[in-house]
Symmetry: none
Subunit: 191 residues, 4 copies
Amino acid sequence: MAEARKPVPGARTDARRNKEALLKAAASAFVASGVDVPVREIAALAGVGVATIYRHFPTRADLVVAVYRLQVEACVETGKALLARGSQPYAALVEWVDLFVDFLVTKHGLAEALRSEDATFQALHSYFLDNLLPVCGDLLAAARSAGEVRGDIEALELMIGVGNLCIGVNKDIPYDARRMVGVLLAGLRPE
Amino acid sequence: MAEARKPVPGARTDARRNKEALLKAAASAFVASGVDVPVREIAALAGVGVATIYRHFPTRADLVVAVYRLQVEACVETGKALLARGSQPYAALVEWVDLFVDFLVTKHGLAEALRSEDATFQALHSYFLDNLLPVCGDLLAAARSAGEVRGDIEALELMIGVGNLCIGVNKDIPYDARRMVGVLLAGLRPE
Amino acid sequence: MAEARKPVPGARTDARRNKEALLKAAASAFVASGVDVPVREIAALAGVGVATIYRHFPTRADLVVAVYRLQVEACVETGKALLARGSQPYAALVEWVDLFVDFLVTKHGLAEALRSEDATFQALHSYFLDNLLPVCGDLLAAARSAGEVRGDIEALELMIGVGNLCIGVNKDIPYDARRMVGVLLAGLRPE
Amino acid sequence: MAEARKPVPGARTDARRNKEALLKAAASAFVASGVDVPVREIAALAGVGVATIYRHFPTRADLVVAVYRLQVEACVETGKALLARGSQPYAALVEWVDLFVDFLVTKHGLAEALRSEDATFQALHSYFLDNLLPVCGDLLAAARSAGEVRGDIEALELMIGVGNLCIGVNKDIPYDARRMVGVLLAGLRPE
DNA sequence: GATGAATGAGCCTTCATTCAT
DNA sequence: GATGAATGAAGGCTCATTCAT
């Protein structure tokens, strides 16, 4: 229905504007209070009504995905580029993982959400995996083929592990996710 | 409901019995729904009124700590024993960490709670750290002195990392926390 | 219950209508059960959900103040008019106090609330005092200047005394607050 | 039943000791937190179990009455003495009322309780009135007979008024109940 | 007689979500 | 399309009162 009729260009412009304000607001709110920040808070921040959020993003997962889509895509692209480079596959894997970690670590609450049991976040989880797993899988396979990493670790497991290590950053605790991920990757070396 | 109530009409003597029933119920409830399961749910499971929980465990943290106290203590004891053994400090560290992981992994939701930002769990977090950190620190120091592990990783960071890797087990996802912790520990090796 | 709900399905326009229904319901509830009547009761009486109350009146004090605002304002206005009249300041004071008493006496529970130690009602107390004290003060000062009342009683003390005398009316006890306030005012006469 | 059997003197001694501890504790608790202080608090203060309170004082009113019985009786006695004096009936009334006010004012929360609508305090209210009203009535009648006070105020009304004026003392508000009662009594003078 | 453990009703408050305008 | 008012379920916590020991 709604999609079928694109007659009032002005309204559409407003809608897009709104959607972008929403994404910006949500991004802030997610960073400040986690991805399970009250809907009202996001709406207020964006200067729109709550229902507007529901219109554009029926579920919370939709909103979260939308907020992080660009960065996920960038991550995918960079991964492909690293892969295309062909040489030094372990270094490429490390580089890519570092990128992924940078992404997670700067999104307070995202890593947590990815691990959440809450059904609300299932779609979020899927989105990340659907997009990033292939890339990670290829990078890992390349490293494995070159004999640069042990062969018993699967990409999914690695991604989950890395994601988990990124949880809880930004607290006042002396915990450096990047360093721990570095240790994990070092542990990937054969023998 | 009503039938479930009146667990053992007696009192004085049964206070302890009741407390234990509560601990058992809480343990189940924690596993099933996380440590932030509604108080009412635990009470129902234990067949007691909510106030009974509040009597025995004024705050939620008290309850959680009580539920895991024995196992934390066992973990501490084993750690001391391993330390006393003196030889092969890296192996001892690995053995102890495996124990810690076994503990966390079988307590669905505990690792998550340990990372929770919720003030309610601050005491829980402290309890774990106060008790386990010294042991882990000693084991790590021993391994470090023997030159068996790299020197730039602190015990707190290691414990948090290990704890994080234990999050989200028990889902239907093929993720083996023990294996990932193994990788992390392998990454601790020097060079 | 369910039938009572859905007062007027409309919204935007009816927000005010709803708010007024709420005020009316609250007024009744306050009279019937005191100003610390459960929120749920007011909501039920108004035929709205509890959250609707919280939307319109974030704190209980807000609601109480709203309920009595008009009358307080009227009391202030009348007081100013009496003051402007200039002549017979003691008579003016009596007239104004009678008005105040009429107000309190018909609001079973209000006088009590004004004296409540509950922090919830601090704002209510302040509201009344902030608005009525100046008027009372001026009337009293005028009477004092004219030598029509003794000089050692302050307006605040008088208002509190009058308010206290209005407590507990409407019970089945033969107590006439108006008459007692009359006695109090008579006692204000010099010598 | 219980009254019929007075065999175990030891137990009875304990019981009386307990009762007195309870009265002392209740007195403190009433002053500190009002007469509706939680039962548990009183019990804790007295170092007894809650049930012990219920045994000795089935209702809260029983406890409150017991706590103030001595003072009420003293008030009655003094009243009778003043009455017996015969001369200067208005002065006697004032003196007695001052006594009553001293009593109320030093019992934070008592005046409030006397006016409370809570059914729990009905018995308290009755006790006070049953005992004090006759005395007050006699003193007032004497003054009235002597033409020292106006004739349209009944003793009950006076007592309630005085009681009301004693409410809310001890707050940080500059309100002197004794002075206001003085004004009220002055207002009682004829003409 | 005394104890204090247990009960459970009851209150406040928050938030996701719907829906009439 | 946007709005934001309204809903009502849900959860935490307290306290008077009962009752087995």
